[in-house]
């Protein structure tokens, strides 16, 4: 009875225009105040520090070379992701077989395995004596740029596949059927009709892969080796070498690299957003006989074989390779030591609890401040152009390298509010990084709900909060759940921003990175310890994925 009265009272309040807009306004203020402005201001207030880099030609060149490596690898990997991801997505979305449903699930695995674990797994597979190198006289692939490319491909490939599969499933097959009845063989139909129509999704997939590649720190640091640096590895190396030793160089190098990384990635993002819609896929020119050959039997089966081979050999096997030492460790004393928190395991479990607590807090905060923002964007509450601008701004943290973001965010808060606890900083950093994932998926879900339904609800007497409670929420609850899981797993994976904002709090991926690449003076953990630590993390990630699949299964498109 009381609950009903409270709901009625809130419903009545929500119909007041000032209250309604205050909710959206608070969401926007929080977005600017907590997420968008702090990283920018962090760099701005330390702008003078870059003088030390500008005066030191070798440090400047080292930073620029690392940043160039970052963008080159990100562009290359995103392009390869699309080339390899399209046939894989096609296979999953279009072919009907029970095996393909398994393949669909398998393709998510690298996505949910925390990247630090993934990096170690790849290192073992490509470089370790028990991996594929067993077949050769020495390590098949040494630590360095090639392994970084393989790593970035491995973790961004599932994201690209997932986005394209979604686009293909949403796409109206009628267009393709029309093309076929007009005489186009399957290859021509998909090239001239399907892919130009789902081009926005291809661009989105490219941006996601590009930004993930630019952002990734922990795993890249594991596989990069001593001589290769990209932007995040450079920042990590600067921190390891100079923090507390020569803070002037540390700050100078970090502000310099962070500024360039942020400025260039935001520029590339804006260029892709602006030019992407005008970019014409090669449609007009058609080679009927050649494309016909590509459409059938031999060409199709060769394409599928190559696609599956790439997935199994380059993505799946290296991702899961860490399970071998984890499995071996389960039959040794390492398992007991881990469960009894002996030695380094105390840190590990503490890190694990911190990671999952942090992820849970960040997920809840995202729902609270992200949901009104998603609705404001989807329903253009502040006008069309303002919503379009907000939509672009929300995406910016996505394309900014997380270590640069974490660093600039950290120095802003610490220099503005010196008393701010590290845990709060960590929450702000993770919130900033995960916010775009939640708002993007939610605004897309809200946009899919026809306005007619909301208007019908209003004409039947529902107040704005009532409309949200009875229409928007039920129709988007599975998107909220999916978005929440996305935020949660991304937060658990995050390394770069975590190390940038705090040295006292260590989340589990940071612990693992330290085990594999310990700071000076510390011993690396054993293979079995790292394997088991990774194994636990994969196990928990699997449980989350399984829970998601079970909850969302068969619940309709919303």
């Amino acid at each position: 009875m009381l609950k009903k009265k409270i709901i009625e009272a809130l419903d009545a309040v929500s119909s007041k225009r000032t209250i309604k807009y205050a909710v959206y306004l608070i969401a926007i203020v929080l977005f600017f105040g907590l997420i968008l402005l702090p990283p920018i201001l962090g760099i701005a207030i330390n702008w003078g520090a870059i003088k030390v880099v500008l005066d030191d030609a070798s440090l400047k060149n080292r930073a620029l070379s690392a940043i160039t490596n970052s963008f080159t690898i990100a562009l290359f990997v995103s392009a390869i992701d699309l080339i390899a991801g399209i046939p894989m997505a096609w296979l999953i979305a279009r072919k009907k077989s029970r095996w393909l449903s398994i393949l669909d699930t398998l393709s998510d695995i690298p996505f949910i395995v925390p990247t630090a674990v993934l990096g170690y797994s790849l290192l073992l597979f490509w470089n370790g004596p028990e991996g594929i190198s067993m077949l050769f006289s020495g390590p098949l692939i040494s630590e360095g740029w090639l392994l970084v490319i393989l790593l970035h491909f491995t973790f961004s490939f599932p994201v690209v596949v997932r986005v394209i599969v979604g686009a293909l499933l949403d796409y109206k097959r009628e267009f393709e059927n029309a093309s076929r009845t007009l005489g186009a063989p399957p290859f021509t139909a998909s090239r001239t009709v399907t892919f130009p129509i789902i081009k926005p999704s291809l661009i989105a997939a490219f941006i996601l892969a590009f930004s993930r590649s630019l952002s990734e720190t922990g795993a890249t640091f594991i596989v990069a080796g001593t001589f290769f640096e990209n932007g995040p590895v450079f920042l990590q190396n600067m921190k390891n070498a100079y923090l507390g030793v020569n803070n002037t160089i540390y700050y100078g190098a970090t502000v310099f690299a962070s500024f360039i990384l942020i400025a260039v990635s935001v520029s590339i993002f804006i260029i892709i957003r602006a030019v992407g819609p005008r970019f014409k896929l090669p449609v007009r020119r058609i080679w009927p006989s050649f494309e016909r050959k590509l459409s059938y039997s031999k060409a199709e089966s060769s394409r599928n074989t190559v696609t599956l081979a790439i997935f199994l050999v380059i993505v799946l096997a290296p991702s899961l390779f860490v399970a071998l030492p984890a499995f071996r460790a389960a039959f040794t004393s390492t398992l007991n030591e881990s469960l009894q928190r002996v030695g380094i395991w105390g840190d590990y479990w503490q890190g694990l609890v911190l990671s999952y607590t942090l992820a849970a807090i960040v997920t809840v905060l995202n729902i609270i401040i992200g949901l009104p923002m998603a609705i404001a964007i989807a329903r253009r509450k502040f006008g069309s152009s303002q919503s379009a601008i907000l939509d672009i701004l929300v995406n910016i943290p996505l394309v900014v390298p997380s270590i640069a973001l974490g660093f600039s965010l950290g120095i802003f808060w610490k220099q503005t509010f010196a008393f701010i606890p590290d845990l709060l900083l960590l929450i702000f950093a993770h919130l900033t990084i995960t916010y775009p994932y939640f708002v993007r998926s939610m605004s897309a879900a809200v946009e899919r709900i026809s306005m007619d339904m909301e208007e019908a609800s209003r004409t039947l007497g529902a107040k704005p909060l009532g409309v949200f409670r009875t229409i928007v929420l039920p129709l988007t609850k599975y998107s909220i759940l999916s978005g929440a899981i996305l935020v949660f797993t991304r937060s658990v994976s995050e390394t770069g921003a975590t190390t940038a904002v705090t040295t006292t709090l260590r989340t589990v991926p940071v612990v693992l990175v330290n085990w594999i690449r310990p700071p000076l003076g510390q011993q690396p953990a054993t293979l079995l310890q790292i394997g088991l630590g990774s194994g636990f993390l994969i196990l928990f990630s699997f449980i989350i994925l399984l829970a998601l699949r079970l909850i969302v299964k068969g619940r309709g498109r919303y």
Partner: protein
Amino acid sequence: MPDVVIENVTKRFGKLVAVDGVSLHVRDKEYFALLGPSGCGKTTLLRLIAGLIQPDEGKIYIGNRLVNNVPPEDRDVGFVFQTFALFPHMNAWNNVTYGPRVKGFDMKKAGTIGHEVLEMVRLNERLDAFPNELSGGMMQRIAVARALAAGAKLLLLDEPLGQLDAKVRNDLRYEIRRMAKDLGLTAIHVTHDQAEAMAISDRIAVMKKGRIKQVGTPSELYMAPGNVFVANFIGESNFLEGYVANEGDKEMTIELRGGIQFGVTHDEARKGERVVLAIRPETFLVEKGTEKNKNSIAGVVERVTFEGTNIRYEIRLENQDLIVVVKPSMTGEWFSVEDKVTVSFPPEKAHVFEYPTTGLKEEIAVE
């Protein structure tokens, strides 16, 4: 040349049998309609002919060629979709010339064909317009032009007028037929609108639950329906239930509820058999008063609806059956509610059907 022969074709989607052992022959240059209620399998049958889906059983021939394993692009058909399926990223010109281009025609030839078909649909001045800049009627005409430009001799139309306003729909249906006839095409037109099918088709196949109930010209289906479903679905019929009371040489006597007897032209039914009489609303004769003749029954007017061309009367007969009678509004006598009338009909205008084993309601149901 492209007559279409379908032999015992079945298509299942899981447990649902969408097309159930259908056999059909569509003749060369014929304008043929597949007519039936939603979910009857007509679109599935059309997609089977186009090769967009494959039959589970049976054979499909187009122009004497077995096409079961021929992909859609090699069947030489033009398909017009209900949603038009105009490619949103191409303008009208690129949509229309898409077929010639994917078939490898040189640009000059593709251009000539494009202009010809756009001329035919009178949209040559909207070459640069994208689909979202065109009205529903224009999109429909571009969709037809695109199908024609591919040079197919078999035109398949899946509810091509379903998304248009009534007035535009009426105009365009004759235009499509005219184009098909002018170009000597065989056309198969799917619709759930019996008036549309009657207006444009040479012949119609009426479908229900995946099966063909009857094939015939529009007049055959209207004047001589083969079963109660067709009698109900094509036009409108009054159904009166009864028994065969007597069989004569030329006539038989049907006894309706309440012991009322009518003479109808001799049919297949035998004495004692349960039957249904189907009588069109316009065939009844209605007179004021209660003086009964042969084949007449008294009744009371319960409702009068003025429909413009016609007036529609609902009359409660003395045996409590309710019938609908339609009379031209400009001629004859008008009746009012509660008027006592006598209703009769010519014996040859009543169709006698065996009472359906599944029940009359189930047999005439459209869903």
